[in-house]
Symmetry: C2
Subunit: 519 residues, 2 copies
């Protein structure tokens, strides 16, 4: 039956397009138009009721008061906590009930991160969802199928793809680690790349306080000093060293950014079973405690500084200890953490297109899709690792990037929900067509067919025979073709030459001011 | 950072298991224990509010009254509608407002479908979700990588895998079309296979009324005449010939089953844009109208006969006319249709692990995962095509079957929701471990690690080096190994020899009573 219908549809469609038409694409194979950040019209999905939420919140308060959180190797931070009324014992900070929540009240529930192209500025919080690429991998899976250390050329390539990808709203940060650049100078090249090869909002360096300072200094060149002080132009990933530790590197970066009125994402980095209990509720409790402490700290640095409730949650294989992705438990954690963030009044970050697979195969896709589905329905505001993630985050993959952004386009369409307008109801079409006919040629279809359904860039929906005739390509091979094509046709967005020169001068001067360091 | 942590976890885990441990599996590589049907503890996800639902319901009522539904080539059905108060014009039936809803009130919102092994009986409706394999493909993608016409041996193989798969709760029906068996005798071999090689509930033949009669007759042999009259022992797929047509074949089968108190799934088979409008709301309207007419018809046949609100929704490529899967629009249709079914008080069927890809690659997995996620969260009660579907339903794939059932296991775990017991809260673990340590060896982890996280049968979570050393297998290659292993170790469930003989006699007698027909 399926066969008959497919044949019938094929025949009907044939009258409009001519037989043998290829998968639809822009004439030049380039990307479709850029999409604004997502304004979700669909509901959020929730896994905890009021009782469960109150229980976890009470448990987190107990953790904060009774066990406390370590603020390591940062005397200033400890002094700040003492002055704020916390009970500081060595590097362990115990928080009187309600202290963190009270401090967090000054943080904005919604803020704008500005891009140098104002049309690309994004809302963080509320019903907005923003997709940013993978962050952090030392390796790449390149277009020749090799797994190798990443270089600055790879970084620039991913920046170009992020600029061109319609449903990537944010340039991200460490698209891959450019290991061919000295460790102490990488951040300069990375920030410069985001500022010059893309015009979307981006992330700053957090690997040392002075690198955070460099990031802010470059932002002042790009956006102007006054604008940076009064607006958020860079967002920065501050990971907790779970369980229940913040280290001096992360605290140093957090201080720089918060004091400069720039955004931080306080993120417990959790492989549940290792860095948190093996249960969802226990993991949520620890996440909430860590975020409460970290987010409150940003408000001690500068009340009103934007801060995001971050969660990176995976589980581990209890047989091998290896991180696992796309399993049910991290999805439950994402849904629950999003609820906790909303109750706290903070924007929320989790998820992405996470997977453990070493290659862009079915495992990678199942895991990524499971993660992205829960990320979207949780109501996540900022989605790091939304494209390109492979092998547990050790690898940035060109092919996976192109496959993932297709899924992001689907998520963006999904977020529009159901159109209930008269056109959406389509009663005229049902009347016109009637029983036993088909809708292919009816006027409602003709009027809507361009935008009616999400049009995948990766999926091959053709017949087996046609797919066979075209070389039996796998999804990642089609993605490979697209990545090569886009990189060949990339054109950088215009930038004021004076600003470009000033940025280049800053980077050159900084690089010359210190010897290369590779650790 | 990810790298460091992965290494640390690996080292920690190493102390318990010895280095180089392989992916966990049962010692013999066989399936884990059978799971009962899913009793969802998580909420359903909804995309329509009260206003939207009322709008679509009103529109469906308008379709039923104003446009009507065709009941083709079945004078008895038309007479039944006339007697029930409908306005019958030729084969077009127009339904006075409220007639269908009123008739449907006699249908049970929840019923049990009994299996010959009572432990395998399933609840259809309420918070239950039941997974059944792919239905209908004329082709298989076999374990040697060949795409070819399916045979009865393939059918038996899929029946064996369905019996062994832990999260497959239902044997399904036409696991593939055994094209080597004459068309007029296939149903006998298929039903016999379900009854003898599996002990889970199954589906009957709908390709002709007399084949439905044969199915019921065989059920009476297996379950006893009286039991069959008073209980539901077979469920049957009655597709509407969308838009707005029921044909004599489907009506004939529906009459047989409903009158025998057996269950039907009234399913508009929709490739939106061809068989329904190009919009979600328009498609939902037509689906609701078709189901209202079809489900009401079953109640004319026998008030109280179990009937399921079915939906098969895909969209088509508006460029090529080809069916597409895993896109946002069918997910929105599934969510919306589930809401309409709940308001109507009928169990709901949709979704599965649908895809358009010709091979079990990333495209197949993205599409299947997107479909399955929405299927689960919609609160679907009966999920046909939950495993093995490939190439738009033209192909039953062994490898895809094994990959999909891993995903079904994840969905089943997800449906458990968040454990908020004292053990789930894990406060003792957080206290025991404290800041800066890890949870791998703590007593809470030791007590829970066996069941803490879903354990994938397909995912390779090992290091790149280990995966490389093991031959760089793709997900479908690991699935291939499992399928071969399972088929080699399959043992049929015990069946009363007298019943087995009676079933074989029935089939032999029927086969001898007519010449072979191949069309």
């Amino acid at each position: 039956m399926t066969d008959d219908i497919a044949t019938a549809v094929e025949e009907q469609a044939g009258s409009r397009r001519g037989r043998g038409a290829r998968r639809a694409a822009r004439a030049d194979g380039g990307p479709s138009p850029q999409l604004p950040y997502i304004s979700r019209r669909i509901k959020v999905y929730e896994v905890l009721d009021e009782e469960g939420l109150a229980l976890i919140e009470a448990n987190a308060d107990t953790v904060l008061e009774e066990i406390g959180i370590e603020f390591r190797d940062d005397a200033e931070a400890l002094a700040m906590w003492k002055a704020a009324g916390a009970d500081v014992q060595g590097s362990r900070v115990h928080f009187p009930k309600g202290l963190c929540r009270s401090l967090i009240k000054t943080a904005p529930p919604i803020f704008m991160q500005h891009a140098r192209n104002p049309a690309r500025s994004v809302q963080i919080g509320g019903n907005a969802t923003v997709f940013a690429p993978v962050y952090g991998p030392p390796f790449v899976h390149d277009l020749d199928g090799q797994r190798r250390y990443a270089t600055i050329d790879d970084f620039r390539n991913f920046a170009k793809l992020a600029y061109m990808a319609p449903a990537i709203h944010h340039a991200g940060g460490t698209l891959c680690e450019p290991v061919d650049v000295p460790v102490n100078k990488r951040h300069l090249d990375m920030v410069l790349t985001h500022m010059t090869l893309n015009d979307k909002p981006f992330m700053g360096s957090v690997t040392a306080p002075e690198r955070a300072e460099d990031t802010v200094a470059m932002c002042r060149i790009l956006f102007g000093e006054k604008f940076v002080d009064q607006n958020t132009v860079v967002i920065n990933l501050i990971n907790a060293n779970s369980p229940m530790v913040f280290d001096e590197t992360m605290l140093g970066a957090a201080k720089v950014y918060a004091r400069a009125n720039q955004a931080t994402i306080i993120t417990p980095f959790i492989l549940a079973g290792a860095m948190s209990p093996v249960t969802v509720a226990g993991t949520l409790t620890q996440i909430l405690a860590e975020v409460l402490a970290g987010a409150a700290f940003t408000q001690l640095c500068r009340p009103g500084a934007p801060v995001v409730f971050g969660t990176f949650a995976s589980s581990i294989s209890m047989q091998s200890g290896a991180p696992t992705f796309g399993t049910p438990e991290p999805s439950l954690v994402s849904y629950g953490a999003a609820q906790l963030a909303r109750r706290l009044g903070l924007p929320f970050r989790t998820g992405g297109s996470l997977c453990a697979s070493k290659i862009p195969d079915a495992q990678a896709a199942y895991e990524s899709a499971n993660t992205l589905n829960s990320t979207l329905l949780a109501g996540t505001n900022f989605v790091l690792h939304a494209a390109g993630w492979l092998e547990g985050g050790l690898v940035s993959s060109y092919e996976k990037f192109i496959m993932d952004i297709d899924q992001l386009g689907m998520a963006q369409k999904m977020a529009d929900g159901v159109d209930l307008s008269a056109n959406g109801q389509a009663m005229d079409a049902i009347r016109e067509v009637g029983p036993g006919s088909h809708y292919l040629g009816c006027s409602h279809t003709q009027a809507n067919f361009q935008t009616a359904f999400y049009r995948s860039t990766i999926a091959d929906n053709n017949s087996f025979e046609q797919w066979h005739a075209e070389g039996e390509k796998r999804a990642e091979q089609r993605a490979n073709d697209i990545a090569r094509n886009w990189l060949a046709m990339y054109e950088a967005p215009a930038l004021d030459p004076g600003i470009a020169e000033a940025l280049n001068d800053f980077v050159a001067q900084k690089k010359n001011s210190m010897p290369d360091a590779f650790t």
